[in-house]
């Protein structure tokens, strides 16, 4: 019985274990389409996540900015109060019961009556539990209690031109009105204010240097005839580098303009189209099943690629050709396991407009602008087992191109005039980089420019 069982098992096992059958071609077509779809889906998800992240960041920054603007810091209050003449009319509003308490002082120091250089009318938020006390001293004390007791709005209005700096001009009053601690705070605030105003006013120019890894995504379309003979484009996983120098001019407001000179490189990889598997292809031998058509034109070999026609000047001896090249326009094939790498080097001159969203220790800006791109390098390299060698150039590349850029800038002040910058930038080309009518090649790229800048 066992033997019989094994016998029937063996018939099937022996005959079917190594059974092979070439599946219909459409199976691979389906797989290829799904793989391509998956790639697009991933990219789409990435952009969606990036979009959401950017929106959140902007919302967060806006919220932060808003809350910062609407909150008056205690130091400023002290400063303002100090600058307000004591004889000012003090209107204290108590929001809870909408009752008003008005107190008027009639202190008559000589110095107070001097005309003020800067009459100040400023709404001041105060927090106090005691609204009807003597107007001078308690007001100062109230600032210390801020945040603990119910809030009140105190509106100080200049009744008549007050003195600019009461405490300074009247040492007597200073002693009377302010404790030593309060005076210290006053001095500190004065210094701080002076520093802030001078820093904001003076530094208008900025120079910087930045480098960035650039991730490019090829976006192209082709004439059908052209595409039929085109080498298989490969997703370019290699990052290229970009970098350059910049200068920036700050206007009075939150706007600034930036230009400079950048170098950047685009790479496009292509490989031989794998369509044919020869029957004699041994199980593990991977050689000899490539078929990218190559034509001959004016003594040069030409091959269609995703970015344009590659003109081959010299092929390394390791590369095998198939077909007769003597006859003009005879289609031949490259029979090696090789990939082509098209390099395009550009010098980029941008003009960006920046808007400052947050201006503090860590600054945040949005930037947008145009770049002029000048083609300075156009090379094609062939990579095979023997290494990498230059084989020619891509025909029809446009020398001058324009691209749109937008991004976000983060800067961190290392010292008062030295900044560390991080700028994620997205860039897209307005026109095809190749003038060939069969090819539309418009890659877009993403880079995170990191560098330092110096303001003066």
């Amino acid at each position: 019985m066992m033997k019989e069982d094994k016998y029937i098992d063996r018939i099937f096992h022996d005959k079917l274990t190594d059974y092979e059958k070439v599946p219909p071609a459409f199976v691979w077509d389906n797989i290829e389409a799904k793989l391509a779809g998956e790639k697009h889906r991933k990219l789409f998800i990435y952009w969606r996540v990036a979009g959401v992240a950017a929106a959140l960041l902007i919302a967060f920054i806006a919220g932060w900015q808003f809350s910062k603007d609407s909150f008056t810091e205690p130091e400023t209050i002290v400063e303002n109060i100090k600058q307000q003449p004591i004889q000012n009319e003090i209107t204290v509003t108590k929001p809870e019961n909408s009752s008003f308490a008005t107190a008027e002082t009639t202190t008559s120091f000589e110095s107070i009556n001097q005309p003020a250089e800067k009459p100040i009318t400023a709404p001041i938020q105060l927090v106090s539990g005691n609204t009807k006390a003597e107007p001078s001293k308690p007001v100062i004390q109230k600032t210390e209690k801020q945040g603990f007791i119910e809030s009140l709005h105190a509106v100080l209005k200049s009744q008549e031109p007050g003195s600019k700096n009461l405490a300074e001009k009247n040492p007597l009053m200073e002693k009377v009105l302010f404790s030593a601690e309060e005076l210290r705070i006053i001095e500190e605030n004065k210094a701080l204010l002076a520093m802030n105003t001078s820093a904001a006013d003076e530094r208008k120019w900025m120079v910087g240097a930045a480098v960035s890894p650039v991730y490019s995504v090829s976006q192209s379309s082709h004439n059908t005839e052209y595409a039929k003979k085109m080498a298989t484009p490969e997703s370019n996983n290699d990052l290229t580098m970009a970098g350059g120098l910049s200068f920036e001019y700050k206007t009075q407001k939150k706007w600034s303009f930036q230009s400079g000179v950048y170098y950047n490189k685009l790479e496009q990889a292509s490989s031989n189209s794998a369509q044919v598997v020869f029957a004699d292809n041994s199980k593990y031998g991977l050689n000899g099943f490539f078929s990218t058509p190559v034509s001959e034109n004016n003594g040069k070999l030409e091959m269609n690629s995703v970015a344009g026609v590659i003109q081959i000047d010299n092929l390394p001896s390791t590369v095998q050709m198939e077909g007769n090249l003597d006859r003009e326009l005879m289609s031949s094939s490259i029979l090696s396991d090789a990939s082509f790498n098209q390099n395009f080097e550009y010098v980029e001159i941008p003009l960006f407009v920046k808007y400052q969203l947050v201006d503090s220790k860590v600054g945040v800006q949005v930037l947008s602008g145009l770049s002029t791109n000048i083609l300075v390098g156009n090379n094609v390299y062939l990579q095979d087992q023997s290494g990498k060698s230059r084989v020619g150039k891509t025909d029809g590349m446009v020398d001058l191109n324009y691209s749109g850029v937008f991004g976000l800038g983060l800067n961190y002040s290392l010292t008062s005039n030295l900044y560390l910058n991080i700028e994620p930038r997205f860039k897209y080309y307005f026109n095809s980089l190749n003038e060939d009518s069969d090819v539309s090649y418009k890659p877009y790229s993403f880079g995170v420019y990191t560098g330092i800048s110096y303001s003066f």
Binding site: K3, I8, F12, L16, E20, N30, K34, K39, S235, N237
Partner: protein
Amino acid sequence: MEDFDKLIKDCAAGKQQAQARLYHLFSPKMYGVCLRYAKDASEAEDSLQEGFLKVFTKIKSFRNEGSLEGWIRRIMVNVSLEKYRKQRLLYSVEDVSIYDKEYHSGDIISDISANDLLDMIQELPPRYKLVFNLYVMDGMSHQEIAKEMDITEGTSKSNLARARGILQQKVNQRFGEHRVKTNTKA
């Protein structure tokens, strides 16, 4: 084998060229595997497609511990198993009459083509087909089969016996009535 390392790496990096190469290298054999588990060519194509998509998305996790072929084959088998699990409710538990065991002599093995045998396997009821494939063709134990298919070991054994019985009868039908002889080579 060095080439395989690069091929695997390139496939993991999503290079189309490498994926095409891997597919062309292994698809004929894997199509054979899928055909054994499927009821017809169209289902096998479906499994093959699904299997290779899995191969390409999971190839990053391939650790060179076993052979690449073995790993891919295992994925194909798993795809077929998943298909069975999804469709299990549609099949009745014992959906075939019990065949008497009839055994064939060894002298006509060479006359039977692989395609004929494949047809016979494909015609088996789903569960018998699966058990037979897993046990005989892919070397799984009854214990493993029971686990994978969520059946008992006893059921696995009896299903295998029935599958053998059916196959034996089919062989007999196609190649004449040869009664069992004891000179089998096993």
